[in-house]
Symmetry: C2
Subunit: 993 residues, 2 copies
Amino acid sequence: MLTMQDALARLSEYWAGQGCLSVQPMNTEVGAGTWNAATFLRSLGPEPWRVAYVEPSVRPDDSRYGDNPNRLQTHTQFQVVLKPEPGNAQQLYLDSLAALGIDVVAHDVRFVEDNWTSPALGMWGLGWEVWLDGLEITQFTYFQQAGGINIEQSAVEITYGVERIIMALQGVTTFKDIEYAPGVRYGEMIGQAEYEMSRYYLDDADIETNRSLFELYTAEAGRMLDVGLPVPAHGYLLKSSHAFNVLDARGAVATADRAAAFGRMRRLSRRIADLWISRREELGYPLGIAPAVTAAVPVATEQTETSAARRFVLEVGCEELPPAEAPAAAAALGREVETRLDATRLAHGATRVYATPRRLVVVVDDVAAREEDFTRSMKGPKLAAAYDKNGEPTGAAKGFARSQGREVAELDRMDLDGVTYVAVTRQEQGRSALDVLAEVTGRAVGTLRSAKNMRWNDPALAFSRPIRWLFALWGPDVVPMTASGLASDRQTRLLRTSEQPVVSVATAEQYLDVVAAAGIVVDPAERRRLIGEQCAELAAAVGGTVDLAAESRLLDQITYLVEQPTPLLGAFSERYLELPEAVLTTVMRKHQRYLPVRDASGGLLPSFVAVANGPIDVDLVRAGNEAVLRARYEDAAFFYRADRGMPLPALRDRLENLTFTEELGSMADRASRVGALGMRLAGLVTMTDDERKTLERAVGLVKFDQGSQLVTELTSLAGIMAEEYARHGGESEEVAVAIAEAEMPRASGDALPASLPGALLSVADRLDLIVGLAATAGLPTGSSDPFAVRRAVLGALAVLRSQSALAALDLRAVLALAAEQQPVPVALEKLDEVLEFISQRYEQSLTEAGTPTHLARAVAVRAGRPWLADLTLKQLAAAVTDEDFQSLATAIGRCSRIVPAGHPAGYQPGDLVEPVELDLHQAVTQVRSELDPEADLDTFRRVAGRLVVPVNAFFDEVFVMADAPQLRAARLGLLASVRDLGEGVLDWSQLRG
Amino acid sequence: MLTMQDALARLSEYWAGQGCLSVQPMNTEVGAGTWNAATFLRSLGPEPWRVAYVEPSVRPDDSRYGDNPNRLQTHTQFQVVLKPEPGNAQQLYLDSLAALGIDVVAHDVRFVEDNWTSPALGMWGLGWEVWLDGLEITQFTYFQQAGGINIEQSAVEITYGVERIIMALQGVTTFKDIEYAPGVRYGEMIGQAEYEMSRYYLDDADIETNRSLFELYTAEAGRMLDVGLPVPAHGYLLKSSHAFNVLDARGAVATADRAAAFGRMRRLSRRIADLWISRREELGYPLGIAPAVTAAVPVATEQTETSAARRFVLEVGCEELPPAEAPAAAAALGREVETRLDATRLAHGATRVYATPRRLVVVVDDVAAREEDFTRSMKGPKLAAAYDKNGEPTGAAKGFARSQGREVAELDRMDLDGVTYVAVTRQEQGRSALDVLAEVTGRAVGTLRSAKNMRWNDPALAFSRPIRWLFALWGPDVVPMTASGLASDRQTRLLRTSEQPVVSVATAEQYLDVVAAAGIVVDPAERRRLIGEQCAELAAAVGGTVDLAAESRLLDQITYLVEQPTPLLGAFSERYLELPEAVLTTVMRKHQRYLPVRDASGGLLPSFVAVANGPIDVDLVRAGNEAVLRARYEDAAFFYRADRGMPLPALRDRLENLTFTEELGSMADRASRVGALGMRLAGLVTMTDDERKTLERAVGLVKFDQGSQLVTELTSLAGIMAEEYARHGGESEEVAVAIAEAEMPRASGDALPASLPGALLSVADRLDLIVGLAATAGLPTGSSDPFAVRRAVLGALAVLRSQSALAALDLRAVLALAAEQQPVPVALEKLDEVLEFISQRYEQSLTEAGTPTHLARAVAVRAGRPWLADLTLKQLAAAVTDEDFQSLATAIGRCSRIVPAGHPAGYQPGDLVEPVELDLHQAVTQVRSELDPEADLDTFRRVAGRLVVPVNAFFDEVFVMADAPQLRAARLGLLASVRDLGEGVLDWSQLRG
């Protein structure tokens, strides 16, 4: 049995053998090994650095009194930093697992996209979590910035989660059972500290004390920066961060305070980083400067003598690409190659692209051996100007000949549009395929970019993940291309765990066979099909199915997580089926990328399909994946039980301890406001008595599940758990649903509340958030929207547009109601701003859904009543081709345009003189009397349509701008009245052209 | 080359192999590994615990900007705790050195007494520093208390000073050159942090911030204790301690604050320890309970058939005893054995005792094989009462016989003082030598105690250091004794590094030969002689000598630091001879126990003699010792240069930054007061102009050397360096000496100032301290005397008694002057208290010097003028046997006794009536007119002697208590006048009996 202390010693020894310094943990509390100066500071600047250390990482938020089998307030990280990154860090890492006795061939070890960012440290990087049979055991990150400063040398960070690894290796299900040393269990050793520190962080830490500490620490850090001492400043930054984390765990950090605190820490870390870099420079870089990567030399190659066209294969080998990036990158690479190839004279056949997590492949069939030879002519002066009457060449001809490097006597002639010019003609020879392909593909590889790019040890390249090899063959020949430090060759790489992980390929034509023979399915469509097929087979074995259509997004992801898919069927204890389905599937999909297995009626079976990579030991990997799922379900079940053991009001009471924002109070305050607003909205709509009763009950419970442990853990289940718990708590079905619906929609495109009480609460929730934040933090600008106000606006609009019962709600009035509830005063102008903001979002949502911009703009004036606006839009869409409507729009448009902006609609009918204007007056009067200002467009058309004739007649016969001021004013007032009749229905000006 | 990181890994591996948990350092700054919960908390309670860890130990005070080759603000400890102590921890430790590749046979590894205490942790223990060739590399401690609570299980702590060990092993002379990992030097790695953290601790840490932190931390620790959480409370205690250390390094802790802060931390640690113990009990001792040591069973032995007397040898084997304890313990053991043996009937010869660091030996020659047999008679009733007239036994006789278990017929007779009694006589057999010796020595060993005792894994024993074996032979036979867990046998132990460290001894007579053959010199006198002889030889080799007489105390120490002395001659660079001799010899003697080597004229040679233990590799050990001395001298030279580079006033200015006490200001304030008071004292005595000029200059410099780095480092050199630096700074010889003498005497019995200016400053220094502290902290009571006020009083008295020029100083007046200088008001009653306190110390010093108590008390009334008091005592000692003086004393005594206390001395001569009382009146009047109140005793005798006759006549003829009140009052007033003439000269009441 490998004990935990042995494992730590072995890792230390292994990495020391790789040239890492073995150092000690930071001697102040840190949340992760990254904060240690040996990582944060040392990752900056040009000095090389290799280090490995244990870091007991303190996360107050993870306090569980030692009751949770998998979560500890202090967990043990083993941290490795390699700077510059050595190019083979993944392999070194796999070897370290082998040093721990892990059979990496039998196990399913995978690098799953996981980017990392630390706002407080101004630090981020791209990389992966490493999965061992579905268990996240390591974080692997290529740093890109620290302290907001670009990493000068590449640096890779490998962070092992030691307890998790040991639990897996020892086959125990709680940290308590880990054998730390022979005969000593981890629980016996650290149990008391876990309990007591949990008590401290969750219950007993003095909030004022920790606030003071945070202030003192940050101030002292600042002072040390002022005197040029980054090392003590860094120490105080760490202490600040810990004090902040303590406050956070105590629920004493308001969202706004959080932003301020992070800002403060980020500014400190930035200054620390700057100062560290300049101090190291002053010290002359005591550890030296890491050497630069040298540019690669293309392989020496000579094209095989042949005239036959051959296949060209380009394989760009990468470290595991994110699933969302790989297909896009492959497609882009294929396009680049094809487009550039088309711009040459090299004949070629069809282009195909393939992608796996580790390779982008472009296959071009039938690429000719050479470009065709061709004749190139350069036009000179007209013949008439090239020779004088004596037939002697003119200066122009001589100049032209000279510029082309020819004698005048060698000039040709060419005819162009019937005019003859002197010319120079050259026979040019086509380049060889290798030359053309080398140039084309070299450039194409150079263009590789993804949505989020990183840098590694090759400073000239940037991509989603490091590019590690280039394979380029035309027929039998290596295409001698380079990209910065990389040169192409004929070697491809199979799975890292293959017996022969690197193989030479004889010809391009054999490439696909070679990789296929090794089990790698390069074609993603084929992989997806295979996965689906095998999933279905596996599910069938337990009498179930996998709903491939419903799991489409997950399947897409999985397809790009493996090169050689090995689906396997796992099981979990039936007793977990007592958990709500959403809990089970959220964990499977989101955390584990497992496919749920269902029975004929769509119910969950206690099975799942995990898709491993490569020819792993299925039983071993199944057992591992099952253990991971069990642990996660055990966690969830623990929370679920604990939550259900509490009365709903007690869960609701916990909201008192969650701060929404400093100014807007606790989550309990917010839930109360949402409920109260919901009731006031109910007064504005028509609803049944039952609906009203449901709402009355629901307002007392809304958001209560945010006080539950399960929702604290799996926040995406907010609302879903409310429904579960409410039902369990004896609430009616309708109440349970209403509370759940209050949280809908969760995201754009998500399901909307179906019930009226749910819809009212949903709207109330969102409007409360929008108004409160507008009044305090302000409306979001640019990309910063920490409180997701935009999403709230879109959600409120979606709900208001979804139920006709809500058509009665006028946002202007409703926002005023929301404003009244706020604990801070809300200025009227602020509400105007909010309405304008909502309008813009409404208009934007229409255009994003395909509505032409001018129509979206035309109806956005009605965004305050979204249901009506939608109806208006629908009617408008039908109306725009209707001649009568066009006439009406033209008539109203004419009126609008001629009346100066701001001219009032009033006039004395007695001032009017012409019959046609009196007709118009009459028509206006009648229309106005018949028209509800909230009329839909069709009604408006019907009623206002009778204005067209008198308006047109008016414009035909009356000169508006009469000399007599009184008359002129009356006429303008009359037209303004027409204009105003149209106002609020549409923005008619958008309908002009 | 063993790198530092390899060494740490090897130690971890070695101790893990001994069952230690490998854990991480504390994740908050600690001054030493002891503070880590893995030591402090785990050493408490009954649970077993073995742990080993690296602890980067932060000591702000040791900050040197990375400039000092040997001192770092963060140094690396490797900490081991074994609980219960395994009985062979020293051997395990030596094996750990071997695991580091250290040849413990060739090197001189020694355990040198060093007890350890941490006031803040309420923790102390006894043990050693371990020396490797004179270099202190490890602290080895048997904990006795933690948090003020007795250690329940024994626990041993081993703390390696890693950098020192590595520097020695790698043969480098500065931490910077340590090879931390292949190709990486320690200085390159940590240099910047050393510099910056030094800057923080010494210069830039914000004092108010750290004060606030200290307050916040201690308060939070207290709160956590209130809610029953010892673990977070402990964490905050550590943080408090670090904040305190930061303040201390910044010179921001006044002595009084220090005491308060330590008190606070001690109270916290006590509460933490209490709470931890009860929490562990509540938790049911998760790690179990260590088994108790079982009582030993004596060896089965049968005494050899012989009637010959044989030698008896008892050897009590110990871990290294403190040099001061070993001889006392051996003597006590010998006395116990002899006294107890004398109380038996076992004939025996002479008793000898021997002692080495590891063994106490008692040798008793010619111990008989058996006690002599003997007859024991029990006396019964008188014969007359035993038989009636019929010769029948009476009831008394029967009862006696029954009580003795005899028949009446068996009763004997015995005569006693001519009376005959009935009696019972028994023949009793003497016990065997083994039985007697087993009982005697078992009890004798049980009585072993030293001045400071410890407990180890045997809860029934307590001694200076653990007793590990008992060797007890009588002739060929093991004396079968036990002492708790130990049983005697015939095995003794040689040097730990011997090829055969444990040997059996055939007979007691062979014991001395066996150990002698192994090189061990058990006789301390012989060891001392050998050491002296070899020292002389070695010194002679370089033309020098060792002044054995002058180094007598050091030789005594060395004698008890080795069992097999191996003196060796070392050398140091001549350039260090430029350092003041006191610096060189202080380092040699106090720090290294080296003997200085001098030339014919007494000057130091660049050589020393170190005395190693056992048959070490002399060249290797010499090189090691030389390196240690070089490092220490290099340090001293560094400071010396730095100090001499500064003008004296600049050094003096540094006193501003040293706080004396919060209320009494800085050391600079104190130095100013001392100077000013010195000048005022000068006004009270007769001195030459030159002396006055010297004093005037000296008052501006007094104490300036306490601002120097060397004195900060080697505090015992205060004053000595002042003289050096003053001379170097161009001051006159007299001024230099006066400043040096201001610090004299350093301890009781130390040299006193020779010059008058020096003496005045010395007195001023001490009186300032006494008065200032009396007025603020109060005079010392009990054993607590943190400011060494008692020593100051004794010092002042010694100086005042040493020079007749100071006879003019009256302490009552002088204390008032000192009081005027204080920055706080000093009440008059306070000065009375001080004078009384001084009086008591004066009297005590006389009795301690052998003066009979009554004489000491008699002259103590003059302690305010110590010179005069001494003179008085001298005269009194001569006078007491003189009849005239006795008559005078009797006369004064008679007067004193008859006059009620408090009765005033006044009377109207006219009220007197009898001639004898008028005679007395005349005599009194005349004596009073001739007598100076400060007269010495001889003068007093001469003048007051004439009172004897009239006093006696008065008492013969006059009845004092006359009925007439007026007359009675006059007579009492007359006698009171006689009494008062004697008052202030002596306490006559002490001379009565």
